[in-house]
């Protein structure tokens, strides 16, 4: 199998768990996020949980779908739904087919064929024969639709991307969910190109579902959701409760919300923002006024933007203790610079923990002196040294646990410049000069959009999107809009 065609999204992927839950909220107002969380975890592939190749079915998952579909069928007042759609609500060809066609089009993201309608209409006949009411039958039909391949998989036929395919692609891009009626109508009328496409993009961006989709993306890209599954030794970090972890994740999302939606700023602003919205618990952790809420960080050397947020610092403290210089450096290398750093060779002894007179920084300096280690650590460590002054839950620490003084100072190479920094704020100023960050943001989002790792064949489109991203002031909204208008929109999908 050769490299995938440029810009081709993976096709045939199963809905991610997040997408599945989003659809049920959007179409039925039923929230199954907690239930979906009990399915086997969608695995991360090169940083994202949506890689088509990894979204495998299993008996456990299929039984989970059956059970979820049954729950949804039981939670919705189907008579009300039918009536609300202007449909009749009794057994009989018109009502039955009307219901299947209407609901089926939303779930399958295109009109159903006669054969498909017949497939689901049979459920009505059986239920009627059992003497149960129309609403029960409608719920069971919904349950069948929800377990069908046309719903659970993003199917596209090989060759041309038709307007319904495109409507789905757009809906998953902007909303991480299925198209609404308006988008499907536009597809049906062939109004998804030129100005009409621009207008649709604008409309989709203006919807609350776009805000949710950005949260989904941040949860995946930065692994922010993992905070909900993160814990700390309660003896060392008694204040790290599930509630605080959840507030940390919320702070990350609030930052993106403000930069992207409220202030409509450059996405790079998340790194430099001097405003944050915190809970009282986080305010205490940062030394901010006790009530929390939106706070200014101007003048604080220890706090600025995303990278000094307790959530990110917690997520990047893999050992749960110490300064985590390497893990924090690797996090930046992989997620903000898109450089490849291999896993350490298996025969490398672990870095011994800091001891009195020798901090993690000192240990790493020794480590780098070995050329075999220096090859990677000369790149990683300068990106992590700025964060040695934060502990495993993101509190500022002037000393490590053995009493060594910590400085957070270092030198960052950006292009040909060696930029010295003496704290996180100066580090962020230096890092922000790197053009690689904006490029990496585009790459990451493209990988997520294509639902597969990028290949060399994608270089041109990523580069083009990068130019447009820069021209538009690095705004998330414009990145999405330019993806919608790129070759991606009409390039036939590639098999997972």
């Amino acid at each position: 199998m050769g490299p995938p065609p440029a810009a081709a999204p993976a096709t045939g992927q199963r809905l991610t768990d997040r997408q599945y839950a989003n659809v049920l909220v959007d179409l039925f107002g039923v929230d199954v996020h907690d239930e979906v969380a009990k399915l086997p975890l969608d695995p991360k592939v090169e940083g994202f949980r949506n890689a088509a190749s990894a979204l495998l079915p299993s008996d456990l998952r299929i039984e989970g779908y059956a059970s979820l579909a049954q729950q949804v069928a039981g939670k919705v007042d189907w008579t009300k739904v039918s009536a609300g759609e202007g449909l009749c609500t009794d057994f009989g060809d018109a009502c039955e087919k009307g219901f299947v066609a209407k609901l089926g089009r939303r779930l399958f993201r295109r009109p159903l064929s006669d054969a498909q309608i017949a497939r689901f209409s049979r459920v009505f006949a059986v239920v009627k024969g059992e003497g149960e009411p129309f609403a029960t039958a409608a719920g069971l039909v919904a349950s069948a639709l929800l377990q069908s391949p046309e719903f659970l998989y993003r199917l596209e036929k090989p060759g041309k991307v038709d307007d319904f395919d495109l409507a789905s692609r757009l809906a998953f891009l902007f909303w991480n969910s299925v198209p609404d009626d308006a988008l499907l109508d536009a597809a049906e009328k062939g109004q998804l190109s030129g100005d009409a496409l621009t207008a649709q993009s604008k409309r989709l961006l203006g919807d609350a579902r776009a805000k949710r989709a950005l949260r989904d993306y941040v949860d995946d890209w930065l692994d922010a959701e993992r905070l909900l599954r993160t814990s700390r030794d309660p003896e060392l970090f008694p204040q790290f409760t599930g509630a605080l972890a959840s507030e940390m994740r919320e702070e990350i999302h609030q930052l993106f919300d403000r930069v992207v939606w409220k202030d409509q700023q450059s996405l790079l602003e998340v790194l430099r923002s001097d405003k944050t919205t915190v809970s009282p618990g986080l305010a205490a952790l940062y030394g901010l006024p006790a009530n929390g809420g939106e706070q200014s960080l101007a003048g604080m050397t220890a706090r600025q933007g995303l990278l000094t947020q307790a959530g990110i610092l917690t997520l990047t403290s893999v050992g749960g203790a110490g300064s985590s210089i390497v893990d924090r450096g690797v996090f930046l290398v992989r997620n903000f610079l898109c450089e490849e750093i291999p896993e350490p060779p298996s025969n490398v002894p672990e870095l011994p923990p800091a001891m009195k007179g020798q901090s993690e920084r000192d240990r790493l300096a020794q480590h780098r002196a070995d050329p075999a280690c220096g090859a990677c650590h000369n790149r990683i460590d300068p990106l992590g040294l700025a964060f040695e002054t934060y502990d495993a839950i993101g509190r500022f620490q002037a000393m490590d646990e053995t009493g060594n003084k910590l400085t957070g100072a270092g030198t960052l190479k950006v292009g040909n410049d060696e930029i010295p920094y003496s704290n996180a704020r100066e580090f962020i100023a230096a890092l922000s000069k790197s053009p690689a960050i904006a490029e990496c943001m585009v790459k990451k989002f493209a990988q997520y959009t294509f639902a597969r790792p990028l290949a060399s064949t994608d270089e041109a489109i990523v580069k083009d999107l990068g130019h447009k991203f820069a021209d538009a002031g690095h705004r998330y909204q414009d990145l999405l809009t330019s993806i919608a208008q790129s070759a991606w929109a009409r390039t036939a999908g590639v098999n997972p």
């Binding site: 045939g12 199963r14 969380a37 009990k38 086997p40 975890l41 695995p43 991360k44 890689a51 990894a54 495998l56 079915p57 299993s58 008996d59 456990l60 998952r61 299929i62 039984e63 049954q70 498909q116 497939r119 049979r122 459920v123 059986v126 239920v127 059992e130 029960t136 069971l140 069948a144 377990q147 069908s148 391949p149 046309e150 998989y153 199917l155 090989p158 993992r226 909900l228 599954r229 814990s231 700390r232 030794d233 309660p234 008694p238 409760t241 599930g242 605080l244 972890a245 997520l315 893999v318 050992g319 749960g320 896993e343 298996s346 025969n347 490398v348 002894p349 672990e350 923990p353 997972p496």
Partner: protein, 478 residues
Amino acid sequence: VSSVKGIPMDVRGRFRRDEDSVHTGRRRVLRGAGAAIALPFLPPLGRRAIAAEATAKRFVTFFFGNGMPPSYSAPGFESPVLKPLAAFAPKISLIRGINNKSAPSGAGHPHARGSSAFAIGYANPSIETAGQKSLDVAAYEAWKPPTALSSLAASLWWWSEDIVRNTHSWQGPGRPNPGITRPLALFQRLFGEAGPAAPAGSPEEAKLLRQRRMSRSVLDAVVDGYKSITSEASGYSPAVRATLSNHFEAVRSLERRAIAIEMGSAGAPASCQAPKPPPDLAPQQTCSRGCDTKGSRGGHDAGGGANKSSNWDEVWPLLSDLFVMALRCDIARTGNLTCTAAGDRYNFAGQGTNVHDLAHAWRPGGENGFDQSVTWLMGRLAYFLKGMDDPAFTLPEGGTLLDNTPVLIGTEVGDPAPHSFSNLTFMLAGGKLFKPGAYDFGNKMSEVDLYSTVSRALGIADKFGDQRHFTDYLAGVV
């Protein structure tokens, strides 16, 4: 057995009361740490639980993560690490010096490569899938037992999200049979969510039957959908149809189960009553207040582990007991039980470094605390074997469940520091077919030789695994 030592009494107490309210009969008692503690789960089944034929074949695989250095198993069950298993030594073949030959050519990190070859004997083609079906599934398919479930998988793991690292039951490439991690979910899979069966001829029964017929019509529509889309005429690409075929197979298995329920042949035999459901625990690491059920699916960072504040010591007995119960009740005859994933990271109390990193830092002759985690794992294995070997529960053909159920036990690497695929340690417990004792094959025999030996002895197939790595059957073991 120290496994129950750390269980918080409030949670335990509540659960025990639940159990008491259902089962007033005799309860198994486990002696440990100077106190008699009831096994949380095993109900008073008696001998009648298994209505199956006397020649029923069973087979279970057991995986544990992060490897076993050859020196740990060299002294046999005298080894401090294997000591928890000493009581079962007369029923275990300790098989050392196995060369995992298919792992090196697999995909991904060595933990993934070693792990995905376990009980399979093929290299994994990608990080997302094993290369072939696993031995437990092959056994199920060869024997076609009349059980409600096919191969049953349960798994306790934390950090290693790659599916090939935490899943050791595979129905084929692209068809994982992931282990259930929550005791309540495992309970529901064994006993269903439904209440007690309705009396024959009652209105409740009529209603139940009505519901089943309607559910069948839903499943029929779903099955038709997969049939249509996986057919060549659908116009979808072969790759997409292949993916959907895998999904279809899983739907089929759901359908088979539904039919079995309708025919009244599925589920536990009447003599094997479902106990009260266990508490809805999700495996947790070091966890302070407020993070109760959210860590439901692993993927945790290395915040803690099998230490005083994790709930693994509470979750494991439930998973293990339920797994034993599935075999006792003849709900499944084959399966995999996994206790920590390949490369899993969790800290023991008092250890500042997670077990994976300790494994890498470990050097022969210079113990650094890695032995604690392997000893703990052997303790979990011992707990499972003890449940299997309960003398109060014997089979019609004679002997305990363990005596009639071979258990293949293994891990992904030998010496973990260099991720060595050489000199792996395996064990074959129970099952009468294998000769207890210690064997060292000096790295001259492959894992495919071992799997083929097991497969042939169990009547699954004469050979198992990538035959390029087959040299001969293991001498003396059978």
